[in-house]
Amino acid sequence: MTQRQLQGRAELSRKTLDSIRESGRRSQRARLRRSYSMYALLLPGILFVLLFSYTPMYGLVIGFKKYNIFAGANPFDAISHSPWVGLDNWTALWRQSKFRQAVTNTFVISALKVMFCFPVGIILAVMINEVRNNVMRRGLQTVMYLPHFLSWVVVGALFMNIMGTTGLVNQAIIALGGEPQKFFMDNRWFRFLLLLTSSWKESGWNTIVYLAAMAGIDPQLYEAARIDRANRLQLIWHVTLPGIASTIVMMLILRLGGIMDAGFSQILVMYNPTVYKSGDIIGTFVYREGLGKLNWSQGTMVGFFNSLINMVLILGGNMLSRRLTQRSIW
């Protein structure tokens, strides 16, 4: 290769490189321009979240102040006019056995829900997946998804109706010669009632994710297992369940994020002072003692505590999920 040819090549490649760079720069500019106009669409959402989510976060400082709602022009302005008190609100809270009770109940009820309500969805999904008749299958799904769409007020009222002192369940108990039970006013029964109603409402809905995962299992796996003379139960155990294992792990870990809400809107409908001992949770405590009794600072402090643990749980759960199943919510 002669010197000139080489120079020509270098010249050529420099030109291509330049033009690539130029077009890159142009596309970069186009990308920037398109991004700008996209941000116009994003603006309402960003402002919205700033106002309704981030502004209340600033309000969390109330938890560290002796808040006087009338200290400023409006309740939010009053925040900066109230004196700091450090962790006084926290120590005052922790001294109340009612608060400690609510914290314990929150964890206990959540743990019970994970242990007993979480598997129900999986079992139901496996059972529905085994139904061969498509009409039957669709009918079952229609019925089982429905409770998810009812409000907790309606669900609570439905169960008060059938499990109240004169309800159907107690009629059956009496007919069978048993003692009628006050399910809604008995600390021995109240948590069971919570587990029952939350399974009733959400189990059917929870099957959707598992059924989708089962639909994605390669049919050849079933055929291969069948050739190896696996029976129906063995197919479930060795093909179906392993096939949805990663989904189960992910759902379980994501469930961690819900630990701090043991079912606020559920319990607020169903509880009453006689079952505070077994059913009062952080959410209902804040509602009653913070908002109800205008205990702004303490109410905020509890909310802060709640949010903080919640964040740790969600982040931890998401990290675990990413590590174990290579899947995460974001």
Binding site: S53, M57, I69, F76, S151, S265
Partner: protein, 306 residues
């Protein structure tokens, strides 16, 4: 693959015969599922039956799943309450306005976030997602609404709920699945972002929009907390909050009044409660069957995507 995924039930029975034992197992399975299905329906049937039954039939415990001494008095009573109609109007209004507003703002937010080439996409997504992790809590939220002068207004019932980050992320995942090439062809024809969103992206995501719309609508319709927290005027309460007041007061009534006292009231409080529940559920029952196929599809795509 698609056809096989739609009908997982066909898979092994089509290729292999089932043994008698397995067939029996299948029958037991269907039987158990039917019982579970009935358990989902029976509480509702009992409530409907009570709402149509006479006071006497209810107090003597004769009502099981069919009305005894059929009467419409309770419904006349419930629909005769001006409170009921006020609350119904509020609920319908906030569900319609809220869902429309929420869909608009959610689509506007989700569409840009679905673009991988968007500058600053990651931080912006984090900005939104962080609100799912951490929140101000009940008290600061209440104080904010009070500062904004929203207490006892209709606005407070639907405006703050118009952006659910969870729904936005579901929508974003849907939009990401739309081939970029189709949108680019529209952009070459001179369509701007909004034009592309309205005329290309949205029509292609109807199942997703139906799903998310249903989530928002049900969320608004079923929400009793907002009304409880921010509304003190009885005639501005949404239906679910009205129901909450009836239900929780009824518990106290049951506690304090003896059975004899209840019998003297011409209408049974349980029946009144039951009739209100039934009326509050009617709209959901009407919409649900039509949207079911959409939300199942929508939930699958949205949730399976990691």
């Amino acid at each position: 693959m698609g056809a096989r995924m739609m009908k997982p039930g066909k898979r092994s029975s089509a290729a292999f015969g089932l043994s008698p034992g397995e067939r029996a197992l299948g029958a037991v399975n269907v039987f158990l599922l039917t019982i579970i299905g009935l358990m989902m329906v029976l509480p509702f049937l009992n409530t409907v039956a009570k709402s149509f039954s006479s006071n006497n039939a209810i107090t003597t415990g004769k009502v099981i799943f069919t009305p005894v001494d059929f009467q419409l008095g309770t419904y006349k009573y419930v629909t005769g309450q001006s409170q009921f109609w006020d609350s119904l109007r509020v609920s319908v209004l906030i569900t319609l306005l809220g869902t429309a507003g929420a869909m608009t703002i959610s689509c506007l937010t989700a569409y840009p976030l679905s673009k991988t080439w968007l500058y600053g996409r990651k931080p912006v997504i984090l900005f939104f997602v962080f609100t799912m992790l951490f929140s101000g809590g009940m008290v600061p939220n209440y104080l904010l609404m009070r500062s904004l002068g929203l207490i006892n207004t209709l606005w407070v019932l639907f405006v703050p709920g118009m952006l659910s980050v969870y729904n936005v992320i579901l929508l974003k995942n849907f939009f990401e699945d739309i081939p970029e090439a189709i949108e680019e062809s529209a952009q070459l024809d001179g369509a701007g972002n909004i034009r592309t969103l309205i005329s290309i992206v949205l029509p292609m995501s109807l199942p997703a929009l139906a799903t998310i719309g249903l989530f928002y609508a049900v969320g608004y319709w079923d929400n009793y907390m907002t009304g409880l927290l921010y509304i003190t005027k009885p005639d501005m309460r949404p239906l679910q909050t009205y129901l909450y007041v009836i239900v929780t007061e009824a518990v106290n009534v049951d506690e304090t009044l003896s059975m004899d006292a209840l019998e003297n009231i011409a209408l049974n409080t349980e029946a009144i409660r039951a009739a209100t529940i039934v009326l509050a559920c009617v709209p959901i029952m009407c919409v649900y069957p039509f949207l079911q196929k959409y939300f199942v599809k929508g939930m699958r795509v949205g949730s399976v995507k990691g």
